[in-house]
């Protein structure tokens, strides 16, 4: 599978009118597996949302060349989803068929078989008719991964996929992430657990509203860079004057 790259050209993003990411340039290489790491409020989720077009790019450009937007799959933070929503597991997973069925075409038996297979692949056989409100956090995350499996996208963006998830589920889902990487897909994941990042992710973008380091994980996640990221994050004031680089 030939996956496209995601390229940032001096990108600045604002979230609810507050600057969240400043002057980011660089590339998620085709077929790469990259972690985005940084303190709370560092702009990690904002960056992911900007790639899918949910947040406007204030300055600069994000290039995702030669790709249908539906070829990007996005896994949201669980906190963004209403778990009381009256929906069965199979309906949620079937959203992953959107590229094939769109908003109007009928979901036929073959489609449903694929959805059931995707559920089995994440260890949720026979969960099809369960209401999503009855699932544990780990089970819900498995369902969202099954939806991503069905999307069969060349770029996969995961926003905190292992936050508040039990270790068994994390290990199972990490296997899926590695499988996607092995298939040549471009995978980007916002992560907090540095141990997982060091063990599983070949590349890391360390973000603290500005890029602190971007490259092989061992080189990016040094003690100095992590300290710098924390200091930069703590030093950022909401009422800061206009960025000198932007004003120059």
């Amino acid at each position: 599978m030939k996956a496209p790259a995601i390229q940032f050209d001096d990108v600045t993003l604002a979230y609810r009118r507050h600057p969240a990411v400043h002057h980011l340039s660089g590339t998620f290489e085709p077929g790469s597996l990259t972690a985005i790491v940084g303190p709370n409020g560092a702009g990690k989720s904002t960056l992911i949302k900007a790639i899918i077009g949910a947040i406007r790019v204030d300055e600069g450009r994000i290039h995702v060349r030669d790709i249908d937007p539906r070829d990007i799959a996005y896994l949201p933070q669980q906190s963004e989803l209403d778990r009381s929503f009256p929906m069965e597991v199979l309906d949620l997973v079937s959203m992953g068929l959107w590229r094939r069925v769109g908003p109007l075409r009928r979901i036929d038996g073959e489609h449903l078989d694929r959805a059931v297979e995707a559920l089995a692949a994440v260890g949720l056989k026979d969960f099809e008719r369960r209401a999503i409100g009855t699932l544990s956090g780990g089970q819900m995350q498995r369902v969202l991964f099954a939806r991503m499996l069905l999307q069969d996208a060349r770029i996969l963006l995961l926003d905190e996929p292992f936050t508040a998830i039990d270790s068994r589920t994390t290990a199972d889902l990490l296997e899926l992430v590695q499988r996607w990487h092995g298939e040549g897909r471009t995978v980007v994941a916002v992560l907090h657990d540095l141990e997982i990042v060091r063990r599983e992710m070949p590349n890391t973008l360390l973000l603290a509203r500005e890029p602190v380091a971007w490259g092989p994980t061992a080189e990016a996640l040094t003690a100095e860079n992590l300290l710098l990221a924390r200091q930069m994050s703590e030093a950022t004031l909401e009422g800061a004057p206009v960025c000198r680089r932007a004003a120059a």
């Binding site: 609810r16 949302k49 899918i52 077009g53 949910a54 937007p69 539906r70 990007i72 799959a73 996005y74 949201p76 963004e80 989803l81 209403d82 929503f85 009256p86 929906m87 069965e88 309906d91 949620l92 959203m95 959107w98 590229r99 908003p103 109007l104 209401a131 409100g133």
Partner: protein
Amino acid sequence: MSLYELVVEPFVSYGFMRRALIGCVALSLGSVPLGVLLIIRRMSLMGDAMAHAILPGAAVAFLFAGLSLWTMTIGGVVAGLTVALLAGLVSRMTPLREDASFAAFYLISLGLGVLLVSTRGSNVDIMHVLFGTVLALDDGSILLIAIVTSLTINVLAIIYRLLVAECFNPDFLRNVGGAGRAVHLVFLTLVVLNLVSGFQALGTLMVVGIMMLPAAAARFWSETIPGQFIVGVVIGIGSSLAGLLVSYHAHLPSSPAIILGAGTAYAISVLVGPRGSFLSQALHLPHLQR
């Protein structure tokens, strides 16, 4: 009194009862699914706000054309959509959330509406607009309700998957190229159309009841949206039937009787429905038993 005399005879004997029942059944078929979706979208009070918002449009039409169904309908739709668009615009351009900007605009709209009606209409006219005349539905009113209900069911079928995706996971819909804002606007238009078509039958205030009460009750009976549509519509139709019969036999006003019928169904659902009611929660706590 036999069961026939109690339930069937009023509808066999009187055309106005048959018309009222047909109007309310049609209203339930279109409005209740919208109510279910409003609740799921956490916009339960939006129906109420919109019902108030259509008042000045209907009032302006009334000032120009008197009690004309079609003119008041157009006026109501224009006023409702204007409030929806302005509230949406303010919430997108400012930090004020959509529910707050809706509240602001509908209050302004309601004030304007009452002022306009009071400059020329009598109290009887205002009561007509606010509380409806379900026992005096003419052909035009029934036709309007039928058209709006047909339109609602068909449009909902077309945009259903988009609506669900937009509500549950808007970023997903944006990602796969769905037009979230357009879907939201179409949905609000359907809400306005149903409220406007219903105000002739039940009145602007009561029509929200037939939209929201069966929908709220349905949440206690089903864990899927299609399931809630079906349960809600059945409750809506049942409440209409019960309300009309109570109003007929006890000589009570019909619109409040229908709404109180739906209210009774809601109360029963909260108490004994199988999904999350007081009873179901009590039965699912075996560790408290000894």
